[in-house]
Each structure stands twice: as structure tokens, then as C-alpha cells.
Assembly symmetry: D2
Homo-oligomer: 141 residues x 4
């Protein structure tokens, strides 16, 4: 049903207010997404180099529930929130070492022809990947 | 009714897919917000050092309408979307040199007591600042 | 003899230790370099898209003399430290509003064939650009 | 004699030129340093919160030997290059999966009284930590 990535909050994620600089949460979400792609056997670097559709992010959002502080090790859980014809939405929950929810985020990925820039149907390979994430733990590093 | 900040997309905003790395749009939004605070005479550094409530971001979202590319000079227009009792929401529109909308974003700022971490009423100084932004151009740099 | 770019230290440059996160100084140096390229009429985006040699950075260094804090407006002065056959070195001095030196940095740019990855002679256009920077103020924004 | 940290190059490390944005190498070096501090039982967050001297970076440098590309998993090896009275220097070698050197870096850490901003003698705890790194592998994650 989901996939979880573990990652500590490092100094470069924080700012002078003493907590995470808010856009870095989405950077951490994308890092978890890239680790998931590795796990699925389709690393992002291959996808960018290949000839098929690209999957740029068309929308993102994040909610900050509790302070995210330097040194916390986050468990970032990814789930598939929606699978459309031309796009899909991933959800992220960020928890601390005790399982307390610290933040949530979403990213919408739109399949796009890299030459025309027009939206296209989700490739079968992507549909299969989404099924594998929905179907149960791909791995837990 | 709004305030506009101009800023080029630099190499550090982009990624290997050739366009802006999506969380950097929110970094640019916050940079425009900090420039607005300067203009209002309340720079962020003073706010963080003072004793009153802090205004951490409790939620953000962004929509990417067209590719944001290296070298484009963005006009980032800030408006007040909502003024509540304990929080306010800013809206951002990102346009290119021809006035074409490239992206939109929102940030929700929640007034918080820095010792207890509890939400509190928006300080009068913040209400005044929001009125100035709503009342018309503070400046156009 | 030099060229100066002005830029405030923003929240995203800082970290939980309350000052600039040290690699961001080099990000600011590169931002000043990109502004210089704009001023010379050779924006980086054009250089990357064109067919000639690229100029990746082969070495960098930075010295931190005084704390660089949120809200300071930096004057970043760029000078040409060395012009070689296949590379050149730029120097950066970072000063506060009172002209006090806060930091220094250097970047070494190596001309490289984008297909072979081998170093090549500096293109004439680059030599001309370096002369213009050495010859006196290109501009002072 | 050294300590090694493994970390993939993620999209947020890269730029529109298709390789790592050069200051991000130093960000990766610091992330490896923070992982080392965790391993030594002295996480950075504790050091910043405690009352003793702080250890800001007074100098850094980096050499880029080969292109660092999206998806490569770096082995970052840390060694102690110099131990002085009031500062120490760490060296970093970045290798790919085949053991090929891609880049090198150094950071100089200066012990400083957090109230006066003056340099002070290295605390004993830091000397012990340096000895442990010099003495052999602390761990290999």
C-alpha cells in the first residue's frame, strides 16, 4: 500500500529560524520519490535520457503540522493518491522516530511529450509502477 | 492591490531536466516575500530577532503552467488572498517578460507564540502591513 | 578593473546555526557571475544552448572572514585573477554595506569541448569578455 | 584511517548544464560530515544547542575531476588532513561505484567562542573524535 524512505534532516535543510526551510520538505519528498524509482528499477536518470514521455510536476502542496528540526530522522511514506489518464498524484507523510506526523505533501505528475510539450496518456510502464506501489511495500530501506 | 518583485532564474534554480527544480519556485516566492518585508520597513531578520509572535508557514502550494527556464526574468506579483484571525494567505503569480503566466503559488502564514508554539492572534503590525499590500503598489523594483 | 553585484542574504541562504550555510556563498558568487554574463551580452542560457566549448568549474574555494547574516546586503566584487590558455580564474570579494570584507572566493573555469569532454583553448569571445571585466567597471547595478 | 558515507546524486543536486551544480558538492561533503558526527555519538544538533565552542567553517575548497551526474551513487571518504590548536581540516574524496575519483574537497573548521566570536582551543571532545576518525573505520554505512 505504500513505500517508506528514511532520511535525516541535515543542516542544509534548515534556516535561521531554526527549523526546516519550507520548500526543502518538497525536496525531501522528491528525494524519496527518486529512491522509489530506483527501487522500481526505473531510475530517474534513465527516464530523462530515454525517448518516451517525461513526467514533470504540474502541482505540489505541503502542510506543516509540527516543527521539523535538525537531526530528526524522517520516515517519508509515499502512497498513490490518484491515477488519471494523463497524470497521477503521489502523497507523502513525514513522521518522526516515534511515528508522529510532522508534515504532509502531494505532487501531481503529468505525462508530457518532450518535443511538443503536450500532455499524453500515462505510459504502461508508469501504470505498472503505480500498481506496484499500491500493491504493497516495495521495500523499506 | 499587489506588489511585484523581479528576479531572473539562475543556474542554481534549475535541474538536469533543463527547467526549474519545482521547490525552487517556492524559494523564489519567499525571496519576493522577504523583499516585500524590506519594503514595508519590517525586514525578516528583525522579526526573527524580536520578541513578538513568529509567522511560520503552515501550508504552501504551487501550480506550474509553463516551463520556467534558465535566464527568464520573472515578475513575481504578491497579493493578499485571505486575512484571518490567526493566519493570512499570500498569493504569487509568476510571469515572464511578456506578461505570460508561468506559475502560481500560495503560502499560509500562521501567527505563533515562539515559546509555547501555540497559534495566536495576528499582531497589529502584520494587519497594517497586509492593508498596505492590499491598498496598492508598495513599490515596483 | 572589476564588476560589482548587489544581493541581500535571504532566509534560504541561512541555516540553523544562524548564519549563511557555507556552500551558499559559492551559489551567490555564481549568481553574480551570471549577472556579469548578462551585462556582457552573453547570458549563460545562450552559452549552454550554443555549439561552442562549455566552461564548467574545475575548482572553487572560499574563505569566511566574518559572519554572513540574514538581511545583510552583500556587494559582490568580481575580478579576473588569472587568464590562461585553457582556463581562467575569477575572484570574488563579499562586502557588507559599510565596505567591510566578509568573505572571499575563487572559481576556476575550464574551456571544454562538449562532445569529447577534453579541455580546449579559451574561445576569443571569452577573452574579450575577460578584457572588458579587467578594463574597468562594466556596470554597477 | 577514514570514514565513508554513501549517497546518490539526486535531481536537486544537478543543474541545467546536466551535472552537479558545483556548490552542492560541498553540501554533500557536509552531509557526510554530519553523518560522521552521528556515528561518533555527537550529532550536530546537540553541538549547536550545547554551551561549548562552535566549529564554523572558515575555509573550503573543491576540485572537480570528472562529471558528477544524476543517479551516480557517491562514496564520500572523509580523512583528517590537519589537526591544529584552534582548527582542524577535513579532506573528502568522492568516488563512483567503480572507485574512480570524481572530486575532492576540504573544509577547515575553527573552534570559536559563541559569545565573543573569538577563536579558542579545540575542545578535548573534538580531539578525541578526530583521533577516532584517524584511528580507523568508524563505520561504513
Amino acid at each position: 500500500m505504500s513505500w517508506t524512505h528514511h532520511k535525516p534532516i541535515r543542516l542544509h535543510h534548515t534556516d535561521a529560524a531554526g527549523i526546516i526551510f519550507f520548500p526543502r520538505l518538497l525536496e525531501l519528498a522528491h528525494e524519496a520519490y527518486e529512491a522509489l524509482l530506483d527501487e522500481l528499477g526505473h531510475p530517474l536518470a534513465e527516464g530523462l535520457a530515454a525517448d518516451g514521455p517525461i513526467l514533470p510536476i504540474g502541482r505540489c502542496e505541503a502542510d506543516y503540522l509540527r516543527p521539523l528540526k535538525l537531526g530528526m530522522t524522517l520516515a517519508i511514506e509515499i502512497t498513490v493518491l490518484r491515477e488519471g489518464n494523463r497524470s497521477f498524484t503521489l502523497g507523502y507523510v513525514f513522521r518522526d522516530e516515534n511515528g508522529v506526523d510532522l508534515a504532509r505533501a502531494q505532487t501531481v505528475h503529468v505525462a508530457m511529450d518532450r518535443r511538443t510539450g503536450k500532455s499524453v496518456a500515462l505510459p504502461d510502464m508508469v501504470r505498472l509502477g503505480l500498481k506496484r506501489v499500491q500493491g504493497g511495500p516495495v521495500s523499506a530501506d
